[in-house]
Subunit: 472 residues, 2 copies
């Protein structure tokens, strides 16, 4: 009973990141770090962050409302809304329930889905759940909406430059340009303490930097192997990077994306699927053929050789997906999808017909490697229109660069704000783009109130907005 | 491409609640409350609670391991595992990742799903997600597992007697005895502050008792109306309580379940589908025909008349599902499914062929009304075997009743434990059933370690277990 709808996947995307950002080269200098430590060592350009005018709820409101408006989709046409986030404002009330405010006016409250949580992985859980919903007998013909949103902040120290903030909204349905090849999905889930947030009163995580990098690469190995096995079993053909046009990788920082892609070449070498490599490159892996798995994660020579062998392919297959992650920093759950958005932005004219593989990783740990088959669409959900609507170029150009000092004092302010009640935002960094939701106050019962800047063409400072009576 | 598998639903269940419990009549007396305030006013018999030997992770481990063992299911046969909970031990690492320990030995890490969160609703989100997964093109023939688990604790005061603790595990797959009629699912989601946990350092919620009761009944109204509309649209027949054999309701306390069921009769009266009522009963609703919706939530006379009209049907259709919720208290996410377990326990010999409707509610808010069509199964997943495996009678009989004073001092201890590091459990209430996982220590990095009591036939005290070297 019941055929499944076809080509279910991502129909449309919207990306949001705060205007406020700090440059990594300036942060290096300010922190007294060696030159290039953040820009080359981490591979990051700059870092976006929330002031106390914004939070994970306001970013989610912004990105959803913008997507609905730009595609002229009535809120009635949404049948499922699910959020992936690890930014905890409330331990019980889901972020999704705040977003329901946007659906109240049209009277649509029959919207399944809540929040999915596991570190940076929640967005992927939400995407997979929504795709499955459309394919299930529960589907009623309406769209699903996924929000992946986070504010990533770290205590003062070496991890702080790996922060970031942002949100991505994705519309899910059949006949999509970005089709999830759901039957090839490969996951690796395990119990680890590589990055976690057990100190409930603090926004900062406990991080074991070395362990989390090994966990990340191990998870990638496990997922890639299972993916190749499933692909071969279900399509009858072997799978290697030759079959991959683009690779989008969760990006805690760009250097780990470089290492991850290089690791896939090493995997191909080990399973002897290196037809796409020059004999010269393949030969370079030979000294590492019998390395134990554990050793392989820490061997510097292997890392170097792999990255060299991967270099030209990295430029072609990975680099187009790194724009926002390098410019904005780690957006946790939103990171992978900001990478996908970057890819569509960079290659919309040549993406049709291609296969993209995506690696999602959330510490603790949950990880999945999955495939997207790209189709052109002649509707409003065309690749070129997705790129146009996201306007990543425009959003990056309209940013407000602040000094490391201002960034630091904002982090101090945010420490005070975390879990607090009875305050109104006071950061002087109060310029927001048009159509941005922001926090107006948190009352003595911790209840949060939001308003939106007008949809004008120019940037609007919040103080002017208040003076002009724009708050609602 | 691809037919969906048929009759997807719940194949098997296991239920767990702590042995430690306190009687509500004694709690009334201890609290200086008027006689009957908790037993009749709330409708509760007793309340189970965790000492510092147990937490949401240990309860989840216990219930999953027990289900796998009792049904002799190899961990390799699980392809998805998802947790619904609002008990936050870590703000990033999902409970699901701890449970992966049980799958490590057999090398199965390809298990999709993380945690779903919104107050008491997460378990339902997990069930719906898992059913959709089985129906989707992602399904690889393996089972899904849902865990709904919570420890519900309240600050000293009027809400404390509405606490409880427990976990339910459910095996999901095709050809199930408890089939989810997914196409009739009706949800109501909204932004409310009726019960939430914004004080991150405290385990206790902020509760607006009056508001949350109204939100609950409103959500039930909304879901029931949408459900009836969908049923009529998709089956061509009107829907009323006449079509319901059993009603399982999320149970913050039993009195609200009574009110909820009575509210459904009022709904039927308003939409003129009262053929199952006596003319006399239907006539009693007449004075309230033109009550405004808002008034109807607080009108005492309507409440009285509705409950009177509902009484005999409540005994037949609702009461069998209230056993555990009345004996154990609110188990938040596990509550609804402990109700379903109670129903199977009480009616396994006559449940086949029946329709059960379930109402899931999580503050904030997320709510869904859905239908289960019951089929007999001649496999190990028969109704009688589900009842036998759960052994609810045995579990209730083996409980250890403690005094209100001991309960109070345990709550004080647990306040100290919440979010703490570097401790070993010290509660004297250290008797656990055989095969129960428990916390052995939390190290200075907040990492938690667990062990399991032996699968002997007698109860084992932890101190003896430690002495006998059972910890691992």
């Amino acid at each position: 009973m019941g055929e499944r709808p076809q080509n279910v996947g991502i129909l449309a995307m919207e990306v949001y990141f705060p205007v406020t950002c700090v440059r990594q080269d300036k942060l290096e200098e300010f922190d007294g770090a060696s030159k290039g430590k953040y820009t080359i060592g981490l591979g990051q350009d700059s870092l976006a962050f929330c002031t106390d005018w914004e939070d994970v709820v306001s970013m989610s409101l912004t990105v959803v409302q913008s997507l609905l408006e730009k595609y002229d989709i009535s809120p009635e046409r949404i049948g499922r809304l699910e959020v992936g986030s690890e930014t905890v404002i409330d331990k019980s009330k889901s972020i999704k329930t705040w977003i329901m405010k946007l659906f109240e006016e049209c009277g649509n409250s029959d919207i399944e889905g809540v929040d999915s949580t596991n570190a940076c992985y929640g967005g992927t859980a939400a995407v997979l759940n929504c795709v499955d919903w459309v394919e299930s007998s529960a589907w009623d013909g309406r769209f699903a909406l996924v929000i992946a949103a986070d504010s990533a902040v770290y205590a003062e120290g070496p991890a702080r430059p790996t922060g970031g903030a942002g949100a991505v909204a994705m519309l899910i349905g059949p006949d999509a340009p970005l089709v999830l090849e759901r039957r090839y999905t490969a996951s690796h889930m395990a119990h680890t303490y590589d990055f976690y947030k057990p100190n409930l009163a603090s926004e900062y995580p406990v991080v074991d930097g070395k362990l989390t990098q090994t966990c990340f690469l191990k998870a990638l190995d496990m997922c890639y192997r299972k993916f190749c096995t499933k692909f071969q079993k279900r399509s009858g053909k072997p799978f290697s990077l030759k079959d991959v046009d683009y690779f989008v990788c969760h990006s805690p920082y760009n250097k780990l994306v470089q290492k991850s892609f290089a690791r896939l070449l090493y995997n191909d070498y080990l399973k002897d699927t290196t037809s796409y490599m020059s004999e010269l490159d393949a030969a370079k892996f030979q000294p590492f053929a019998n390395l134990s798995l554990e050793e392989s994660y820490t061997n510097r020579d292997l890392e170097k050789v792999s990255q060299q062998a991967a270099k030209s392919q990295y430029e072609a297959k990975v680099s187009p997906a790194t724009l926002i992650p390098k410019q904005v920093g780690n957006m946790y759950c939103a990171s992978l999808y900001a990478g996908l958005g970057s890819l569509v932005h960079s290659t919309s004219d040549r993406l049709a017909g291609k296969r993209v593989i995506l690696f999602s990783y959330g510490s603790g740990l949950a990880s999945t490697l999955f495939s997207i088959h790209v189709r052109e669409s002649s509707t409003v959900f065309s690749l070129s229109n997705i790129a146009k609507v996201m306007d990543i170029e425009g959003k990056l150009a309209s940013r407000v660069e602040v000094s490391p000092k201002e960034f630091q004092s904002t982090m101090h302010l945010m420490e005070k704000r975390y879990g607090a009640k009875d305050f109104t935002p006071e950061s002087e960094l109060n310029t927001l783009r048009p159509g941005t939701f922001y926090l107006t106050k948190v009352d003595p019962l911790y209840r949060r109130f939001y308003a939106r800047t007008p949809l004008a063409s120019s940037k609007v400072g919040l103080k002017e907005a208040n003076a002009n009576g724009y708050l609602h």
